[in-house]
Symmetry: C2
């Protein structure tokens, strides 16, 4: 690649019992009063929340709690957090959860530090210039938000789901204990594995003219193979520490730009999926699995060799030098086969969504920003292309 | 691995013409008056230094120059830089060069911001608590200092070479244009490639009880293979952009902890080599190549399977499940064979050093801190072991 940037300043503290360092880490990064932000009851039930609060106290910090973040986190909860932080004089936000909680925390950190309506920043009208400092105790391996500068929020007004990446969107630290992911249900674990894989696949499929570094390709391919192997282990043994650790660290690497600069990535599947989970509130990774194959078959002719490489290097398809296209297609089918193996959907109907032609038109209309944008780098897709992929993925 | 930390906050700006961003980057990180620190005449001759100064001026910054950093950078030059910074009110240090220049710049950044004698910090008697902010324009791919928090200085009083890693030792940014490494002589290029490989090999050989992540092993193995392949390309074609780019990015990844947390690494070869280059002023990478094989044969029985893995996964030695030891030894010989292929020494005599038994005793005495420390994690080595390895590497 001729030009890329790499910036991943978050300090990672990885391993068993690392959550016990949460108080000293918050303090080290300047916290006095912490907003502890979390999701449902699992953080309470497991005792993690109590431990976190205890460790904050031990470090001489005060805190306020705000739970109730849902998957595909919502603007209203973020605004509630902003108000609470302003009222209480919070100077540090600690996310205890997965990508949804971290993304919600990033939204709050932006909302406190930037004037006006927060959604104007997510819709691209205004530019973020600051954020409250953030930390994370990760409990779900999937989104990679713990080390990326990305966040995604859903505005209930119109059910619009929008992503925002800024230089201020990095956590100061992330505590990653694979044991904290033991109790994640199989469907969520599998969905997280797909999300991790697609973060790297989006980066793997750049514009055909972008020159990639071999070492970045090799790391991407290793990561994909490693996630596939360990996702199968977790299907039968969800409390396998080594497999949880592999998936957790791969989740971070897949989205901190080690497998490619996000600015050159394709991101079509993410954009197409955001409309699905914005409207039907499905698990993000499952949505990605449902559209990936249809996207791949729609675009692969742009650069067959790239899909052949994926097939051979990742999916163990034997190369056939006389028929590269057949190899590419076998690779796409093999990846869909893997999704099926871990009980992920490969069509939208398998998400219990009965997509009508009207739905398809609405999704493409919204995904194209009412016809104003194309998506994708590997192949640029307009509103008609988007509708065709939704139709094929039906 | 049960516990590791990962922290690599440096912002990387990689690719052609990126040196033109140097002024805006220094400004972004708060510079007003910059110390431009460099080595010999190559930065002047190539016009890079002039461009850098021009870009600083263009950004409205003032600067002072300090050149003359030599390989195995010396304390006296660092102290000269500290004095200059204090006299001139410098608030940002820009290293234009390779690892020696960056390490010297780190020394200056520490010297300005910490009280007392700088060497007390390098000898481990005092603890660094601050540093001036630093940036780098990299012109040699080898040391990885652009993204690591390490620096190594040589004290001419006793020719002691000591490393220092601190949380304040990270550059704010590093500009990496592979073209800037085109003019590096073949011997220095090859020596850099060995240094890169050994940064990762030191991390590959952890204490036998340390649990590694598979993904980290795979990245390490790919990095080693990629450096070997591209080092051979550069031997015949030093201005191959793609190969220079692969080596340059691998140099960073090999030492920013992507291939393993340095705290679990072995580092024996580095410690053994530091005594050699401290005393005889040889190229660091060449010194590493000269001792690696002797170290490996001295320690491999601690954990044969690790060396077997290196042999099979990196050096294409066919596995022999009935005789793992033979595979391990064949791998060690194969890596030495590669060093020879790129004209690197595999013994100390090939560095034109005629090691006497007296020298051996002196090196082991110094390397063991007059018998007070052991080195190594894969196998702990005392003064007697060190002498035995020097003797075998003779």
């Amino acid at each position: 690649m001729d030009k890329f940037q790499f910036h991943a300043p978050t300090r990672i503290v990885f391993g068993k019992a690392t959550q016990e360092q949460v108080g000293t880490l918050c303090k080290e990064y300047g916290a006095h009063k912490v907003l502890v932000h979390f999701g449902g009851h699992s953080a309470e039930k497991s005792g993690l929340l109590e431990l976190v609060c205890h460790k904050l106290q031990e470090a001489g910090l005060t805190y306020v709690l705000l739970g109730g973040v849902v998957p595909n986190p919502r603007l209203s909860k973020v605004l509630e957090g902003v108000k609470l932080c302003q009222e209480q004089g919070v100077d540090f936000i600690l996310a205890v959860g997965g990508g949804s909680v971290i993304d919600s925390a990033k939204g709050i950190a932006y909302g406190v530090a930037n004037p006006g309506h927060l959604w104007d920043y997510y819709s691209g009208e205004k530019k973020i210039t600051a954020a409250l400092p953030l930390g994370a105790v990760l409990t779900i391996a999937a989104a990679g938000s713990e080390m990326s500068n990305c966040s995604v929020l859903t505005n209930e007004d119109g059910w619009l789901k929008r992503g925002l990446s800024t230089p201020f969107g990095y956590c100061c630290f992330a505590i990653m204990n694979p044991e904290l992911t033991y109790t994640l249900p199989p469907y969520q674990t599998a969905s997280g594995c797909v999300d991790i894989m697609v973060h790297t696949l989006e980066r793997y499929f750049t514009a055909p003219t972008t020159q990639e570094l071999d070492i970045v390709d090799r790391i991407a391919e290793d990561l994909l193979k490693n996630v596939m192997r360990n996702a199968l282990i977790l299907k039968n043994n969800p409390q396998n520490y080594a497999a949880r650790a592999e998936i957790m660290w791969c989740g971070t690497l897949s989205h901190n730009d080690t497998t490619g600069d996000r600015n050159y990535g394709d991101w079509s599947c993410h954009q197409l999926e955001h409309e699905l989970s914005g409207k039907w509130d499905i698990a993000h990774g499952a949505g990605l699995a449902a559209v990936w194959g249809s996207w791949a078959r729609y675009v692969y002719r742009e650069n067959v060799s790239r899909f052949t490489q994926l097939a051979v290097n990742v999916l163990n398809v034997p190369n056939n030098f006389r028929n590269q296209e057949a190899v590419a297609l076998e690779g796409i089918a093999a990846l869909e086969g893997f999704f099926k193996q871990i009980d992920m959907p490969t069509s939208i109907s398998q998400l219990n969504i009965n997509l009508t032609e009207e739905d398809i038109q609405e999704l493409a209309y919204k995904c194209s920003f009412i016809g104003k944008r194309t998506i994708g780098q590997f192949k640029k897709l307009d509103q008609t292309d988007m509708a065709a992929i939704y139709r094929a993925a039906k």
